[in-house]
């Protein structure tokens, strides 16, 4: 069975099937419905029909057009005994010497993209946010809330606080005791997805900041140190993608107005190649 490969994109970006369906399409739709029904009955989270295929990967790489900016040193004036010894720097724009831009979010913006069973089974049940060396690690993370919880750990010998307020969800303001010891871990469950990442703060240490994207599907990625990203397991179709970076939120590029672009996902995989980011795109020097 295939996912809705014949979907075509309406001008507004919504997906609709063509009015006239062939017999084959009817058969396919019936199969999809049966798959959805069985999937819903079998598991508490939503995912669509079982697929023989493992989906298609979309990959690419962000490169910075300019000399890598220097990471500003942050003022560490709290818990100086513990945190003072670390070289804590502003991570809001991470460009590596080779020019790769890390911490750019790439995610599927289209609603209702089906998720194959294989993808659901492969994904981890928890996503880790570590308080280590007086900063959050990783700085940018994303999770699929229907399947994954946020697992927060304190690895520092001082108490840490983790506070965030997602839109339309319960706010969190968690204290974690100093490590090693008891009460150094928390598991937070989200109740709804978000359309963009929100900030995670520590009220004890104002320099600590992380970003978290909570989605209702597993089709997201955060670019790594080399600027590369890959979203795996996508069903074929024309899906709209979103780019987001903490400096500017929606990453507005020439080919990506408001950080959005519809990409035809088909074949063995889609390589978006190198996406070049100018300093002005990331509000550097502005």
């Amino acid at each position: 069975m295939q996912f809705g490969g014949r979907n075509r994109v309406q001008p507004k970006g919504t997906l609709r099937r063509s009015r006239r369906w062939s017999r084959r399409q009817w058969l396919r739709a019936t199969g999809t419905l049966a798959g959805i029904a069985s999937g819903t009955l079998m598991a508490p989270w939503h995912y669509a029909a079982a697929s023989q295929r493992h989906g298609i990967a979309v990959r690419g790489r962000f490169l910075y057009d300019g000399p890598p900016p220097e990471l500003r040193k942050l003022t560490v004036d709290k818990d100086v005994d513990c945190c003072g010894k670390f070289d804590i720097r502003d991570e809001s724009l991470m460009v590596l010497p080779q020019g790769g831009v890390a911490n750019v979010y790439v995610y599927v913006r289209s609603r209702g993209v089906p998720v194959a069973v294989a993808t659901a089974e492969k994904s981890a049940r928890q996503v880790l946010l570590d308080n280590r060396d007086c900063i959050f690690k990783p700085h940018c993370l994303a999770l699929w809330y229907l399947r994954q919880d946020l697992y927060i750990v304190n690895s520092d010998p001082i108490a840490q606080n983790v506070a965030f307020s997602p839109l339309g969800d319960l706010p969190a303001n968690i204290v974690l005791a100093p490590a090693p010891g008891e009460n150094t871990e928390a598991t937070w469950r989200f109740r709804r997805g978000q359309t963009q990442p929100f900030v995670v703060l520590c009220n004890y240490h104002p320099w600590e900041k992380a970003y978290l994207l909570v989605r209702d599907n597993p089709y997201f990625a955060v670019s790594g140190d080399d600027g590369g990203f890959e979203i795996a397991g996508l069903p074929p179709g024309d899906w709209e993608f979103q780019l987001w970076h903490e400096r500017v939120n929606y990453l507005n590029l020439r080919d990506w107005p408001q950080g959005r672009r519809i990409i035809r996902v088909e074949g063995e995989g889609v390589d978006l190649g190198t996406i070049r980011l100018r300093p002005s795109d990331l509000a550097v020097g502005g």
Partner: protein, 490 residues
Amino acid sequence: MIWPSAVRRKHDDSDPEARAFAQARDADRCRGGAVTLPKPEGAFGPPPSIPYNIRMLHTAFSILVSSEMKRKIPQNGDSAGRRQFIPCGDHACFGIVGARRSAASQAALLMLAILLSLGGCSSYKPPDFKLNLEGRDPTRVKPAQREAIEEMLTDLFGTPDDPRVPPGLDLDLSLLQRAAGPIGRDITGTERGLFRKHCVVCHGISGDGAGPIAEMLNPYPRDFRQGVFKFTSVAGGAKPLRSDLLRTLKRGLPGTGMPSFSPLSPEDLDALVEYVRYLSIRGETELFLLRTVVDENEPLPLQRRFVLEEGVRPIAALWRLAEEQPGQYVIVPQRPKLSPQELAAAIERGKALYQETRAQCVKCHGPDGRGDGSETELFDDWNKAKKGITDQQTRELAKWFALPLQSLRPRNFHDGLFHGGGRPEDIYLRIYIGIPGTPMPAAGPAPGTPGVFTSDEIWDLTFYVLSLARRTSSVPEDVTVSAGASEKLR
């Protein structure tokens, strides 16, 4: 301008309640409020849903009927022939009360009635909910988007005069109608417009916490639209119970601008609690719509079903959470009964816990609990967004917010004033579940939070905090928990 939902009382100066009512009504007029014209006893005002012109026609005929009756019934004192000026909006219109009239003046009055019915004595404009543009550049919200959001919100939640409950929501419409609308009484003498009478001056008509006097208050009145409430008995960031909001209404928040409304009847208080819940759910739906329509460019027109399923119902589910799973979310303080020696020991243990690094109490509240810790840049969630990285940024941001940036002061326990209440149970809850929307974190175990203190340890801390307050405060510690009062305030 305001029209009462039902009958108006006869204007009678001997009745003190009617006099008080008339004063309230006159005050209402000063704000461009209703023309509340004297009417004969037993007359019924048309409900506010009737179109404006018909209502004005009704008003005009009321004048006629009123004067006609007064002409027939002998009047006391000098009321006969008195000309009564009624300021309404920009104009002034008048009725001639009790004048003996010739046929010509009757005809003139009829003309006036018709004119009033057509044009009106001023433009009646019921108050609207204000779109939440906090932190946004209003020019970046397209007119079509603004219209779509406002239409959808009106469709789902009605207007300040005529609230509606979206399908599937646990809100009592009859209570909402009592709290909503203009100030007045209905046919049964039940007071209406309670929110406008008691709350609007601080909390604003939309519940935005930016009423006319909000800027003068510290802390600012609560903005209900974010769905976060500071003083609750529910852990895990869950929404407050009705009883939590009721407690705040009854007891007020000592040390803030929020007074106690305990003189109001229980039904009136229930109506206000329900209206706060309504404004909050509406406000959170509005935030969802702004995110979807403005930030996400959702194609217009908006689908009602989509908004209900993605916006309203998840928010409503959060409001039901604590009620449905009280075992997990609702924290019921069980104060231990201690002898004086045990209490002294508990205070000592609490003092040690306070200094420990587990919860970092000292960081904000200072080593002696004087609110002078090393954390000085503290803001609540309503103010955080107004704070830029540099002072310049903060100044630039200020223009997108209704109220200027206000920092948060950690409590100085020696003052003996606790916003969330000074009973041991109150202090216990503040430490256990923290104060949502502020940097004060949850120290007790709850869903999603391991907690750093056990229940016993939190009691020790509570007694320590109260022991500091007792030392300097002239108010006896147990003043709020005397046997009868305690029962009444629960």
